[in-house]
Structures are given as C-alpha cells and as structure tokens.
C-alpha cells in the first residue's frame, strides 16, 4: 500500500512535470506578446525591451522554464503580469471556493445520477426508464449557461429559496453544485444503469433475495456497492471535466473560484496565472484519480493495490 502510494506519487510528479513542460512550451510558442500587454499602447520599443529583460523573457525558453520550475519548487509561482500580485496568493484565495464547488458538484451528480441510474435499471424497459433516458440525454445536451440561468431564475428569483449568486453559506452552494453536477448526473445515470443491470443478474443478488431481504436493502446494500465501481473510476476524471466548465457556473453564480481567474488570464495571456492554474488543476486531477484508485479497495475488497 505505502509502496503503491509512493510509486504513484512519483509517477504523479512526473505527470505534473510533463504537464508543466508542455504548457510552458505551448505558452511560449503562443503568438501573443505579454510584454506588449504590460507596456501599454504608448510604450516605445526600448521600454518594451526593458520590461522583457526585467521579466527574463529575453532568455532561451529552457532557461525560463528552469527558473520557473526552480521558483515553483520553492512555492513561488511568480507574479501575474497584469495584476502584479503573487499568483500563489491569487490561487490560494480562490481555491477553497473551487474545491467547495467541486465537492458540491460531485455530491450532486452522484446523488442525482446514481439514483436515476438505479431507478432506470429497476424499471428497465418501462416508460419510466425511457423517460429517464431522455432526461439523462437532455442533461448532457443542455448548455450549462442556460441550465444555470434557468435554475437561478426559478429557484432564486421566482421562488426565493436560494440567494441569487454569491458565496459563503451552504445555501449559496446548492444551485451552482446542481448546475455543475447535472451533466455528470446524466452521464452517471447511464453508466450506473448499465452496471446495475449487470450486477442485478449476479448470483449473490439472488442469494440476498433468497434470504428474504427487502427490496431496498438488496439494492442499496448488495447491488449498489458492486455497481458503483466503474463510477468511482470516473469521479477522478470529473475534476478535469469540471475545470473546463467551471467558469460558466462561477460567473453566473458569482462564485469566486479559479475558473474565472483562468479564463481572464487566457483571454489576456497572463502566463504566470495560466501556468499556476494549470498546475493547480493538474495536481487536483492527478490527486483525484489517485484518490479514486485508493478508494476502490474499500468498496471492493478483492481489489489489491499493487
């Protein structure tokens, strides 16, 4: 177990190194000059060169990368070109919100997705199953922005159950989590239905029924833990998918996560922030996958980590 963990952590570090190298190179070849953005419209070429020198952007790319990596290893992600603040502090300020949202979204998608998947599997072939299929596809096909605004409009503006955006309390978290979880829920419900159908045919389900267990107990205690395995493997990946979609949800709900930071940085080629966010999210994704792999043995004792 510990050896497995150590090996995986080393591999993870290599993956992160790879991500950072590729990202750095991509940003390097990206045709947009950050110095121009810093220097402003009326700057003379000398001023521009002066700033380029100060930032070390006149050096060969590997030297730049080396410097960056060296800083990174010392916890220094550099300073934003445009905001001039430390990237690490910008990310640190926003990370808790992002993590909260992701956790909320994961819970939302698991609760919604798994329930619907199980219900669909139990009603296989019936009209309810078909309706749920359409619903899952609708959830996956729905543009997030529209979902977000619809939820906001109905539950916050019209019904007043939740605040119209903002951050801080649990009730702030509900709508953004659901919005973000809806797509995953559609996805999970399909996965869950299909693995549930497999599990329901297993001999041990018959054994459980032969014991006279109630329907709910058979489903929740016997079928679910077995059926959930393929879904667990997906949760790790979700973090990556969330990273792509988080900006929409954040901006509709005024959620202070790193998605908006990243989006603005991408629009304006604020390289240190892009690097910082990329590495942070890569860490989250890698850890998420690792976590998913570590959890599985607890659900399925047959799985041994090697």
């Amino acid at each position: 177990m510990a050896a497995y963990l150590i090996r995986r952590l080393i591999q993870s570090a290599l993956i992160l190194l790879g991500v950072s190298v590729i990202t750095f190179l991509l940003l390097y070849i990206l045709p947009a000059d950050p110095v121009r953005q810093i220097a402003g419209r009326s700057a003379t070429p000398e001023v521009v060169e002066n700033i380029r020198r100060q930032l070390g952007l006149d050096q060969p790319v590997w030297v730049q990368y080396g410097n960056y990596l060296w800083g990174l290893l010392h916890g220094d992600m550099g300073r934003s070109y445009l905001q001039r603040s430390e990237v690490a502090s910008l990310i640190a300020a926003r990370l808790p919100a992002t993590l909260q949202l992701m956790l909320g979204a994961i819970i939302a998608e698991l609760v919604i997705g798994l329930t619907l998947g199980v219900v669909a599997a139990l009603n296989r072939g019936k009209p309810l199953d078909t309706s749920l299929m359409v619903a899952s596809f609708a959830a996956v096909s729905a543009p997030q922005f529209v979902v977000a605004l619809l939820l906001l409009y109905v539950f916050a503006v019209k019904l007043g159950w939740f605040p119209i955006g903002g951050y801080g309390t649990f009730s702030h978290l509900v709508l953004p989590s659901i919005t973000m979880g809806i797509m995953g829920a559609g996805w999970y419900s399909r996965m869950m239905r299909s693995s549930m159908l497999d599990v329901l045919r297993a001999d041990y389900i018959r054994t459980a029924r032969a014991k006279g267990l109630g329907r709910m107990r058979v489903i929740l205690r016997h079928a679910l833990p077995n059926a959930i395995l393929p879904v667990i493997a997906m949760i790790g990946m979700d973090i990556g998918i969330f990273m792509g979609g988080v900006v929409v949800v954040e901006s509709v709900f005024g959620w202070p996560g790193i998605g908006q930071l990243a989006w603005q940085a991408i629009q304006r080629v604020d390289i240190p922030i892009i690097m910082g966010v990329t590495i942070t999210s890569a860490v989250a994704i890698v850890l998420g996958n690792l976590l998913a792999d570590l959890i599985t043995p607890f659900i399925d004792p047959r799985i041994k980590l090697r």
Binding site: L14, T23, I29, P143, V146, G186, P230, N289
Partner: protein, 300 residues
Amino acid sequence: MTDTTPPDHAAPLAAPTERGAFARMLRRPLAVLGLALIVLIVGAAIAAPWLVSYPPDQQNFDGLTLEGAPMPPGGQWLMGTDLLGRDLFSRLLYGARTSLIIGIVANGIAVGLGTVVGLTAGWMRGWIGTVLMRFTDLMMAFPALLLAICLAAIFRPSLWIVALVIAMVNWVQTARVVYTETTALTERDFIAAERTLGASGARILWHHLLPHLWPTIIVWATLGISTTVLLEATLSYLGVGVQPPTPSWGNIIFENQTYFQSAPWLVFIPGAAILLLALAFNLVGDALREVLDPTQRGRR
C-alpha cells in the same frame, strides 16, 4: 443407453445468424425510430440547399425588428431568425453538417482511440500498459483549452482542426474506463480458455474482449455526441474551429445563450436538435447491444 437429449430442445429458441443482427434490430420499433431520425438528420444536412428558402448566412433585412430584435418562429420564418436576421431553419440545416462531423466523426474517433488505448493497456499490462495509462493521465491533467488556443493561433482555423482537437482530447476518459474494464475481463477464465486454444492476441481482443465493452462504448459514444457538439462551440469561440458565419448547432446555442429568455427559440431549437441526434444514436446503440448481447435477455 437411451438418448438423453432433452426433447424439448427440438423447438429452437431462435436460430439467428450473425448476419441477421441488423434484421433483428429492425424488428425493434425504437431502433427503427432512431435509425429514421439519423437518416432524417443526415439527409436534411445533405439536402439543405434544396430545403431552405434563404442562404444560411444571409442577413435578411426583414429578419430583424426595428429595435434589432430577432423574429420568432412562424410565418415567413419557420424557426424564426437570429440576432443578425438570418433564417434559423437554414442555419440549423447547414449547421448539421458541421455538428454531424464533430459529433459522429470526431467523437467516433475519440471513442475509438480511447477504446484502442484502453484495450491495449489493459491487455498488455506490463510497461506498455503503464506507459499508456500514465500518458492518459497526463492528457487528462493537461489543459485542453490551452492546446486549442495555441492551435488556433498557429493554424488557420477549420472544422478539421477542431475535430482533431476534440479527437485528441476526448479519448482520454474512454481509455480509462475501457482500461479498467479490460483488466477485469482479462482475469476471467474464458479469456484464459481462449489462450489455451491458441487464439492470437488480436483475435481475443477483437472477438472476445470488445463485445464485452460494447455497453460502455455505446454509453460513451452516444453521450459524447452531445458533449462534443457543445465543446466544438467553445473551441470555435476560442478561434480553433469554424468561424462565423459558418453555422454549427453548438455555436448557434453559444452565440445566443444569453438571449434564451428574450429569444428562446435560438437556444432551445438547436438544443433539441443535439438531443435528438444523441438520442437517435442511443436508441440504435441500445438495440444493437441487446441484439449482440444475449445475456441481457435474462439468465439463470
């Protein structure tokens, strides 16, 4: 000794041949519905020039109100107009061309690639498996949008680039899921049995592992249609893909989503189109799976 063969087996359950799979599928009404939808959508995309009254990028003078608002569906405009006074019906049909290529070709390639990588890694194990899976992890942790922006800035944007990006990015999840399932499957006795028969790796992969992965592949491939069609819009927005005024279902939604209250048809009609396409493929996929997977029909 008497003949101990149970006589009741003389009545064959059904004697379908593999070639009959398609025919058997056609006996399912839902599958036929799905197929019909696909044919309809593809047909409409191909026949678009003959079906529409306005070119897709023509900004009609009478397509906007005096205040510059789009026209709702009905009358002259079958599905209404967009914010530039263009005929939405026309844009939808032409947009299908883009979206079908993304949703079917690019997504298909992604799922195919993911399946191949996952299968190979799961089957080979060893260092090849490790390298493949860690590469998959790397791709997963890698910011796809950034790659897209770089490609956008370097290459001339086109449908093919966006298709390429989607194919490059979207295989990852499929690969991981297929890998997990493959490793479990290769432990099963019937695979060992195949090996003792002398089956080649290719034969085992193709004939014995792949059929078990069908359900997963179908789920991923059909759900992927929706997500990739929407992803295309994001990527095009960042400059990688089709550029305005070329329509695609995704970018029609994307351009107009803030207007979904004042001009709901601009969002919900293309949204419904995406949903229908994905559902149609799902219906066919489900039917195909049930035809191919006899165990779905109940077991002792």
